[in-house]
Amino acid sequence: MPSSVTIEWYVALSVILFTMGALGVLLRRNAIIIFMSVELMLNSANLLFVAFSRYLSDLNGQVLVFFVITVAAAEVAVGLALIVVIFRTRHSINIDDVNLLKG
């Protein structure tokens, strides 16, 4: 790894990605977009894992990334299935329409 690209750059990129994901989750109403934003947050975390794994010469970080990818895949499978079902019943994937548990 070229020495000009230090660990700070990875951290900064990861923060930017995480912030974009978080803002997407909080601000968007389309369920698919929110889903993609969640993926973005997960992957920002993956990037940080890999970066620190390299920086600290510890493979544990890379092992954890595989776990995260696996969990994300499972999550996507369940989440997309839910979105499909919601769409079928409500003909919309706008999450503001899904408010049955409003107190």
Partner: protein, 733 residues
């Protein structure tokens, strides 16, 4: 060979009689009047005769047994092992109880025979004999008991029989519609209750002090405790044994006053004459009323201890002295009251009170044998007099029936002596036997009454002069009213047609009279001196020098004699030799009294309407003495007012209205209302409903957080995560 195991039979025979007459006697009488009466009456009589035969055999056994007391146990009545307290149902066969048994069953049997004739034609013939047997049964329990509680059972039982028999003709009313016979029965019962109350307290104290109620142990322990000078704690108070014997014997005196008709409770006995005459003879003269005297004689050890007790009334009068004064004063007062009575039976009733006073006075002075002697002699001659008066009444009723030709109820009183007179020609047998009884009552030699009364007088003359004075005046009074009664009843000319047509009573009534007259004539032999050794003043009062039959017989039951020899008690000695002074004085005074009585009433009254010759003299003021006026005008209304006050202002207004309704009911209702309306609706319901209400409010408040927007949840998770990060980064250090 003794017959003590047979003793329970004296109780069994009367019970058979009660069952026969109580259960089936009535059927016999209603089925066939004549034979039914014979069965009913003779069955009851034969049971008493059987009991008399058993008593005779016990008498023989006592002699062969050396006069020792024998206890015949039947069963244990009360058993409290924890308190070591046992009351047996046991018969004490000793010389005293056998004497009483002989009198009760002997005189009782004669009166039963008489009643067969007297009660002839009565609609409740068998009921009368059932009650009569019941009385014999209870009287025998009373005299044969070996403990105070069993005696008390008999004591109450004879009171019950007295009540039943006084009001035997309970449906008779006087001209005002007052049921006087039923009232007389109630009066007797209630007045006796006052005395019984004292006996119960006395028994409780005896039990507390000595731990037993059996006679012999009580007396032994009493002497033992007395010699020790033991203290007894009752409740919070501590008494010396001196105080205990004084209190107990004084309480017994109140019981005796009730049963033996002494001042202040004698008022029931004159009214008790409302019963059939055999009842008056048996219960209210010969036996039941002597139960009080028997109780004192039985408790003689306690009385002798009380005599030497440190604790005395007013500091000087010991409890037995109080007994003596009560008896003497009763004897005097009742003898004076008898002057003013017109009813032949009322005279005898007051005479009975007076003679009982003699006995009680004798017992109080420590002359226990003299008291018993007079008791037995009096049982003979007073039963004789009452039965004689019954015969007179019977004759008068028949005479009146003959004259009135069935006009029946015209207010004629067959008991009023003013309507009598001249009966000696119409009823010669009754006259002779009545004469014998009357002379015995007046104290004329040689009849039984002279000997027994003289012994009491001699004893009092030696020991308590005040009592002697009262008794000698009472004796003169007795002679006077006896003379008056004889003159009014049997001498002179008939003052009514009924008296003119009176008939002699049937043999079944006169034969018992003759037997009693015989006993009255020879009864004095019972306690006359029988010379065994030389008479000397040194042996005076002691059975060594001289042998008195009744004294030698009874001294085995009167333990004071033994304790006196041991020097524990100070028993006053009764003179055993006839005192010429006392005997002479009393005889002269008796003859004088009789003579004055005869003389005053010889000419007047001439007709039934005439006033009494004494009516204008101060002596007639005695007529206020019966105290009936005092009781009826003073005590009874006061008691009624008190009872009314108890019943209305107190019981109804205060107790019922105020305490029950206002205090208890209203308090309870308001408490219940408080529970129902406040505690339940406000408290319990409030907690339950409040829990629901709080939960609902809380859920409403929390429900606001659930916006239904995923973004809100995501933001809260985000903020939570930020908060955690901040915590871990900066605060968890």
């Amino acid at each position: 060979m003794n017959t003590f195991p047979l003793a329970p039979l004296i109780l069994v025979f009367p019970v058979i009689g009660i069952l026969f007459n109580g259960l089936i006697g009535r059927r016999f009488v209603t089925a066939n009047r004549k034979t039914g009466e014979r069965w009913s009456g003779w069955f009851a009589t034969s049971m008493v005769i059987a009991a008399f035969i058993v008593s005779l055999s016990l008498f023989g056994s006592e002699i062969s047994n050396g006069y020792h007391a024998v206890i015949v146990p039947l069963f244990t009545w009360i058993s409290i092992p924890a308190a070591n307290f046992y009351v047996p149902w046991a018969l004490q066969i000793d010389t005293l109880s056998v004497t009483m048994m002989l009198v009760v069953t002997g005189v009782g049997a004669l009166i039963h025979i008489y009643a067969i004739g007297y009660m002839h034609g009565d609609p409740n013939y068998s009921r009368f004999f059932a009650y009569f047997n019941l009385f014999i049964f209870f009287m025998l329990i009373l005299v044969s008991a070996n403990n105070y509680l069993m005696t008390f059972v008999g004591w109450e039982g004879v009171g019950l029989c007295s009540y039943l028999l006084i009001s035997f003709w309970w449906d008779r009313v006087d001209e005002n519609g007052v049921p006087m016979n039923a009232n007389a029965g109630r009066k007797a019962f209630i007045v006796n209750r006052v005395g019984d109350f004292a006996v119960i307290i006395a028994m409780t104290m005896l039990f507390w002090t000595f731990g037993t109620l059996d006679y012999e142990p009580v007396f032994e322990r009493a002497v033992e405790f007395f010699v020790e000078g033991r203290m007894v704690t009752i409740g919070a108070a501590t008494f010396s044994i001196d105080a205990i014997v004084t209190i107990v014997t004084a309480l017994f005196l109140l019981g005796v006053a009730g049963k033996s008709a002494q001042i202040p409770l004698y008022i029931w006995l004159p009214d008790a004459m409302a019963g059939p005459t055999p009842v008056s003879a048996l219960i209210h003269a010969a036996t039941m009323v002597t139960a009080g005297v028997f109780l004192i004689v039985r408790s003689n050890v306690l009385y002798e201890l009380a005599r030497i007790s440190d604790v005395q009334f007013f500091g000087t009068i010991s409890s037995p002295e109080l007994v003596a004064y009560t008896g003497a004063f009763t004897a005097l007062l009742a003898a004076l009251i008898a002057f003013t009575q017109w009813d032949i039976k009322k005279v005898l009733a007051y005479s009975t009170i007076s003679q009982l006073g003699f006995m009680v006075a004798a017992a109080g002075m420590g002359a226990y044998v003299a008291a018993m002697f007079h008791l037995v002699a009096h049982a003979f001659f007073k039963a004789l007099l009452f039965l004689g008066s019954g015969s007179v009444i019977h004759g008068m009723e028949h005479g009146h029936h003959e004259v009135a030709h069935g006009h029946g109820d015209d207010g004629f009183d067959p008991q009023d002596m003013r309507t009598m007179g001249g009966l000696r020609h119409r009823m010669p047998v009754t006259f002779v036997v009545y004469m014998i009884g009357a002379l015995a009552l007046a104290g004329i030699v040689p009849f039984a009454g002279f000997w027994s009364k003289d012994e009491i007088l001699a004893h009092s003359q030696r020991h308590v002069f005040l009592v002697f004075l009262a008794l000698i005046i009472a004796a003169v009074g007795t002679a006077f009213y006896v003379g008056r009664q004889l003159q009014l009843t049997f001498f002179g000319k008939p003052r009514s047609e009924a008296a003119d047509h009176a008939h002699e009573s049937p043999w079944i009534m006169t034969v018992p009279l003759m037997v009693l007259a015989f006993l009255t004539t020879i009864g004095g032999l019972m306690n006359m001196p029988f010379f065994t050794r030389q008479i000397s003043e040194a042996h005076d009062g002691h059975p060594e020098g001289i042998w008195l039959a009744l004294e030698a017989w009874l001294e085995h039951s009167i333990h004071s004699f033994e304790y006196a020899v041991e020097g524990v008690v100070n028993l006053p000695k009764t003179p055993v030799v006839l005192s010429p002074l006392v005997a002479g004085l009393s005889t002269v005074l008796a003859i004088l009294g009789l003579a004055v009585g005869f003389m005053i009433y010889r000419r007047n009254p001439k007709t039934a309407e005439d006033p009494d010759p004494l009516q204008r003299t101060p002596i007639w003021w005695l007529s206020i003495l019966p105290l009936n006026t005092f009781y009826m005008k003073g005590v009874v209304p006061a008691f009624n007012r008190f009872a009314h006050w108890l019943a209305f202002p107190f019981e109804w207004n205060f107790w019922h209205d105020f305490v029950h309704n206002n205090l208890i009911r209203d308090t309870f209702v308001s408490f219940a209302n408080f529970l129902a309306n406040v505690i339940d609706t406000e408290g319990v319901d409030g907690v339950v409903n409040g829990t629901g209400k709080v939960t609902r409010r809380l859920s409403q408040a929390l429900g606001v957080l659930q916006t239904g927007y995923v973004r809100t949840y995501a933001l809260s998770v985000f903020l939570g995560a930020v908060a955690l990060i901040i915590y871990f980064l900066f605060l968890a250090r």
